[in-house]
Subunit: 216 residues, 2 copies
C-alpha cells in the first residue's frame, strides 16, 4: 500500500491520519519542524505512523493530503517543496477562510469567486496532480460519512483524470458513495464558496455532523 | 387573498407569476414600462393577472417578489420606490451574477463574500421586510420542487420573523417541505455563494432539475 503524507497537525490532519492508519496505510504527519510535539504525539500512538517536516513527509510519500489551514496552505506547500511533490497526487482539503475580521470568517478575496485556493495550489505546484475534495464537511464526516443519517454527496475536481480516480477510490474507502466529478480544478471555486452556507447551517443545525446531498 | 407583485418578466418572473395565479392569488407583473410586450402578453393569458410598471405593481401589491436579474435589481427596486414598498414583504430571488467576463458567470465582488445582494436590497429599502429564498434552484424547481425525485431543502433568511413566516407559508404552497431559517439577511451571503457550485453541477448533471438537501 502507498505511503501517505498528511500535512497539518490540526483536527483535520489527525482525523485523516487516523483513518488512513486504520485502513492499513503508512502515514507521515508533516509539520514545520521535525520535533513538533503534536505530530510526535500523534505518531507515537499508532503503528505505521511517523512524523517529519513538510519536506520530509512530502519526499517520502506517494500521496499527500493537504490538511493545513487555508491561510497557511501556500507557505506550507512551498516548504514541502515542488520537487518533493513532483508527479504526485495532492489531495487538497483546505478552505480559504479569513478570520482576520472576526467570526464568522469570510473567504480571502484573492482566493474566491474568480479564483480559489485549489487553483492557487495547482499554480504553485504545476508538476503535482492536485485534486480538491472533502473541504465541504466537518473532519469527522470527511473520514466516515455514515455518521450522518442519510446519504451525502461529495465533489471532486482536478485537472488529472487518473489522480481523480485514485482520489475517488480513497473516498470510497472512507465510506463515500455518491461522488460527483466537477471537472477541472476551477471547480474548487464552487466547492470553497459553500463554506459560508456551511457555517450558517452549523449554527442552525446545532452540530457539525451534517452535509449536502445533490438531489437529481 | 393578497395581491402579489412579481418584478421581472424573465423566466423566473413568469414561473413565479404562473404558480401564484394557479394558487389563486392576483398577480401584477412589474417591468420598466407599462406597455412592456412581455408582461402584457403574460397578463393577457390569465385571470387575476395584470401588468404595470415597477412602481405601479409595487404600490398595488401586498407582497412583492423580486425576480429581476441581479445586475438590474437595485435599479429596478429603486424604480419600484421605497414608499411603495414600505412595510411590505419583499421576497428576493435575485443572484449577483456577473456575466461581463463571459461564461460561466462569477459573482459581483461588491455583493459577495463580505456582503450580498440580499443585504444590498435590505439596505436600499430599510422600511421593507426583505426575505431571501429560492435563489438556489432553477425556476421550474422553485415553484414545484416535487419535479425533483428526492426531497430538497430550501433556505430562508431575513431580519423580520413574521415576514419569514409568511414566506415559509408561501414556500409550502409551492411544495417545499424542508425549510431552514438561516437567520438574518446576512445569510444571503451563503445562499448566493452557492451559485458557482450550482452552475458546475448543472453541467455535470446535464439538466437543471436538481437541488440540494441539507442532510443532518
Amino acid at each position: 500500500m502507498e505511503t501517505i503524507a498528511v500535512l497539518g497537525t490540526g483536527a483535520v490532519g489527525k482525523a485523516i491520519g487516523n483513518r488512513l492508519i486504520s485502513l492499513g496505510y503508512s502515514v507521515i504527519m508533516g509539520s514545520r519542524t521535525a520535533d513538533n510535539p503534536k505530530s510526535l504525539e500523534w505518531a507515537a500512538a499508532g503503528d505505521r505512523a511517523s512524523a517529519d517536516t513538510f519536506a520530509g513527509a512530502a519526499s517520502r510519500a506517494d500521496i499527500v493530503f493537504n490538511c493545513t489551514k487555508g491561510e497557511a496552505t501556500l507557505e506550507a506547500l512551498g516548504m514541502a517543496g515542488r520537487e518533493n511533490l513532483k508527479g504526485k497526487l495532492l489531495i487538497d482539503l483546505s478552505n480559504p477562510l479569513d478570520f482576520s475580521g472576526g467570526m464568522p470568517p469570510s473567504l480571502f478575496p484573492q482566493w474566491s469567486n474568480t479564483s480559489s485556493l485549489g487553483e492557487a495550489v495547482q499554480h504553485l505546484l504545476p508538476d503535482t496532480k492536485v485534486v480538491k475534495t472533502l473541504n465541504i464537511v466537518n473532519c469527522d464526516v470527511m473520514v466516515n460519512p455514515s455518521i450522518v443519517t442519510g446519504e451525502l454527496s461529495m465533489f471532486t475536481c482536478g485537472n488529472d483524470a487518473d489522480a481523480k480516480a485514485r482520489t475517488v477510490a480513497l473516498l470510497r474507502e472512507f465510506g463515500w458513495k455518491d461522488i460527483l466529478d466537477l471537472g477541472d480544478i476551477k471547480g474548487a471555486r464552487g466547492m470553497e464558496m459553500i463554506l459560508p452556507l456551511w457555517i450558517r447551517s452549523w449554527g442552525v443545525v446545532g452540530h457539525a455532523k451534517f452535509g449536502l446531498r445533490l438531489v437529481r
